[in-house]
């Protein structure tokens, strides 16, 4: 039969009740697809509402800058023709007075005052003070009257700041998160040394997370190996020991470390009791980097062991036997044959522990002291205490970008398809 006649015959096929076969098949397939979609729909909705939307909201907040543009709208409009080189003229002061009066009436000047204060301290009190006294100005010219209230209005920087921050979007939160700012000319410059905090915190957070990942790998690899290679009845018991921490509250585990590691704690008492250290030179192992490292390694260890275990479980013992029968000493056989086969597990465990560590909050807050806190603690500080959500969002976004960057690098090196979690 030729190809042509075959395809003709294929087109003519129908089901028993006369529907063309192709149509019937598509109908069946579509029904299956819809059913599959409905099964995942609840999770999809949940993910969109609880995961994707908050992230988008965070990203938006990190650049969102509505305060100056809306609450000082008249001033901003009047500043449009300003040359930026001299103190603005009367119309701008007129507009400013109206904005301040309207804002005082609506009681929402606090927002714009705070917003400008982030950029240049003193702006808050300048605006609040001026708005209080502006009510007493009976008639223009306003320029002289406002300058009379506070001579800061005669500074070019004040006006440049207002003009710069009138855009609905700003990079200044990101600059602040990286210890940078705009200077009075609108150039991006570093903060003076004594004001820098975030760069150092970012660096510390990354290094500590890498160190924690390394420690987890070092401690977890032998345990996972043992788990995967002992007879079932022992390995079950071991597995319970590995999982035991999951059944205890995170807070309990963290505070236990305080009891063990503090200066009057169990470990120091033992050292002193054994005469290893003198009573007056007790080691400080908590409320610093050591405390964070120890407690976080302990808490994150299972996340390293489990992926490693699941990969090792699939490596049959005869690979090592084959390597040894071919003449490799045990260590060489391990290095050349067993270890390369566990790399997917190492990758999965490491990226899991690293991402968890970089975003960890409670443990560094409890045991980190000044020295061992993470960048996340500052996100919390800006969310809860300083209420500078824009800055919190910017720091969190940077963290997110870094994690994504790590993930991409990881994908390049090992390949996400190779990751095995169980």
């Amino acid at each position: 039969m030729t190809e042509n006649s075959m395809s003709k015959a294929g087109q003519g096929l129908t089901t028993a009740n006369g529907v063309p076969l192709k149509v019937s098949l598509m109908r069946t397939n579509r029904r299956n697809q819809i059913r599959a979609f409905l099964l995942v729909a609840p999770l999809l909705v949940f993910l969109v509402v609880a995961f994707i939307m908050p992230i988008l909201d965070m990203l938006q907040r990190s650049v969102d800058n509505p305060e100056v543009g809306t609450q000082l709208s008249r001033t901003v409009a009047a500043l449009e023709d300003w040359d930026g080189e001299s103190i603005p003229d009367e119309p701008v002061f007129d507009a400013l007075t109206q904005d301040l009066l309207a804002g005082a009436e609506a009681r929402n000047l606090g927002q714009v005052a705070s917003r400008l204060n982030y950029e240049s301290s003193g702006m808050r009190s300048l605006i609040m003070k001026t708005s209080r006294r502006a009510g007493r100005i009976e008639s223009g010219p306003y320029k002289a009257a406002i300058l009379d209230i506070d001579e800061d209005w005669g500074e070019l920087e004040t006006w440049r700041l207002i003009e710069r921050e009138s855009d609905p979007y700003t990079l200044s939160y990101y600059l602040a998160a990286l210890d940078m700012k705009y200077d009075s000319n609108g150039e991006i410059v570093s903060q003076p040394e004594y004001l820098k905090i975030y760069q150092q915190l970012f660096v510390r957070t990354f290094w500590m997370s890498i160190a924690i990942t390394g420690l987890c790998l070092l401690l977890g690899y032998p345990i996972a190996f043992l788990l995967a290679n002992t007879p079932l009845r022992y390995s079950n018991l071991l597995m319970i020991l590995v999982l035991l921490p999951f059944w205890t509250s995170l807070l309990v585990r963290t505070t236990t470390w305080i009891a063990i590691l503090q200066q009057q704690g169990v470990l120091n008492d033992i050292f002193v009791g054994l005469g290893i250290i003198a009573d007056d030179s007790r080691l400080s192992m908590i409320y610093n980097k050591t405390g964070t490292l120890v407690a976080m390694t302990h808490i994150l260890l299972p996340f390293m062991i489990l992926p490693l275990y699941s990969v090792m479980k699939t490596i049959p013992p005869y690979y090592m036997r084959a390597a040894r029968s071919l003449g490799a000493q045990p260590f060489l056989a391990f290095r050349r044959v067993y270890f390369p086969l566990t790399i997917p597990g190492i990758g999965a465990g490491s990226i899991l522990v690293f991402i968890l560590a970089i975003g960890y909050y409670i443990t560094p807050a409890l045991v980190g002291g000044q020295d061992g806190i993470f960048i996340t603690n500052f996100i919390a500080f800006h969310m809860q205490t300083s209420l500078n959500w824009g800055l919190a969002a910017a720091i969190a976004s940077i963290l997110l970008f870094v994690v994504i960057a790590f993930y991409l690098v990881y994908n390049r090196l090992i390949g996400v398809d190779n990751v095995k979690l169980g």
Binding site: S325, L326, A328, P330
Partner: protein, 359 residues
């Protein structure tokens, strides 16, 4: 000839209660192909693992070229091994798999390349150097495993059911391939299998294992033609069995009275006195249908139970002397007799083909 590899009174117990291998003795000559044949759990793989060094004997000695190697770790023994699941390293290419034993022995690059090429040529896999094991078919993986076990030129190669995972045609092809390589390289091989056909095809000698004990150690034809006990007779090849009691011994022959009263002339193998109970073993292809009267010492009336057509031969199940499972194999020749179920016939066999074994 001086034995090349030797098991001497080897015993093995895993739990300290029961012996998996009971007093195993075996001499392997240089270049010899010895098969350990037995059902699973008979101890044959344990013996192989002790030779490879992955298990230590509980008692006894293993010698290689007259040196005791019982305490020598596996990597120092220099024995090639082919595993049941091939155990090719999945993260290495074919060439890297083959280079591995040479690299750990410190050969230089040029020599490694030469040897790898030669080994691949031997198993006819040139051009596959860059492939990963997962990209090869079962038969190709088997060849690579074989080449890897041979590439460092060991004098002894162990194989643990290497063909178990292949389909029938491929298995037969590989049997001949392994046999050819064995003859070409003249290495000693110890081969473990539970497939008696495989053992008969390939081996110089076969050790039949059961229950941790070697039942018989002999050449394939010896094993098939002259099994020494009932287990060997039933495990190697098909056979018809009768239970009975020795009635009389005379002139190197014996008469065995079966449970239904008929008396069979047989060759005594494991019996030496009247009154002993015995199992008679007759190969199905040695039975003659409707023989001439007096042509054979044993001729009995039989009834055809069924006939199975197998292409090159016919299997006829008959009921004779109280045994309903008696099988007769006849070649599918031009002058074959067509038999039907229920037909009354006579069957006969020579006393030399009927061996009186242990009960």
């Amino acid at each position: 000839m001086e034995p090349f590899a030797k098991f001497k009174n080897v015993q093995k117990s895993y739990d300290g209660v029961s012996l998996v291998v009971k007093d195993f003795n075996l001499d392997v000559a240089p270049g010899e192909f010895v098969t350990l044949l037995g059902p699973s759990g008979s101890g044959k793989t344990t013996c192989l693992m002790m030779m490879a060094g992955f298990e230590t004997p509980t008692h006894g000695q293993i010698l290689l070229k007259n040196e005791p190697i019982t305490r020598l770790p596996p990597h120092k023994r220099g024995i090639g091994m082919v595993f049941q699941n091939y155990a090719l390293f999945p993260h290495m290419s074919v060439a890297e798999n083959l280079s591995f034993p040479l690299e750990v022995r410190g050969f230089d690059k040029a020599e490694i390349a030469k040897k790898v090429d030669k080994a691949l040529g031997m198993v006819q896999l040139q051009g596959f150097e860059g492939r990963r094991p997962a990209q090869l078919s079962g038969g190709q993986q088997q060849r690579v495993a074989l080449a890897r076990a041979l590439v460092f030129e060991p004098e002894l190669v162990l194989m643990d059911e290497p063909l178990g995972a292949l389909d029938k045609n491929l298995r037969e092809e590989m049997q001949l391939e392994i046999k050819r390589i064995h003859e070409e390289l003249n290495v000693a091989m110890i081969y473990v299998t539970h497939d008696q056909g495989e053992a008969l095809t390939m081996s110089d000698r076969i050790a039949v294992f059961n229950d941790g004990v070697v039942q018989q150690l002999a050449t394939p034809d010896e094993l098939y033609e002259r099994p020494e006990n009932a287990f060997v007779a039933s495990f190697v090849g098909e056979n018809n069995r009768f239970g009975g009691e020795v009635a009389q011994m005379k002139d190197g022959q014996c008469q065995v009275r079966l449970s239904d009263g008929s008396v069979v002339e047989a060759t005594p193998v494991a019996v030496n006195d009247a009154g002993q109970s015995s199992t008679l073993s007759i190969r199905p292809e040695r039975v003659v249908i409707n023989p001439d009267n007096g042509a054979l010492p044993n001729i009995f009336d039989a009834e055809v139970k069924d006939v199975i057509y197998l292409g090159d031969h016919l299997r006829t199940r008959v009921s004779v002397c109280g045994n309903d499972e008696f099988v007769v194999k006849t070649p599918n020749s031009i002058d074959k007799q067509s038999l039907k179920r229920g037909q009354k016939i006579r069957v006969g066999w020579s006393h030399t083909d009927c061996r009186a074994l242990d009960a």
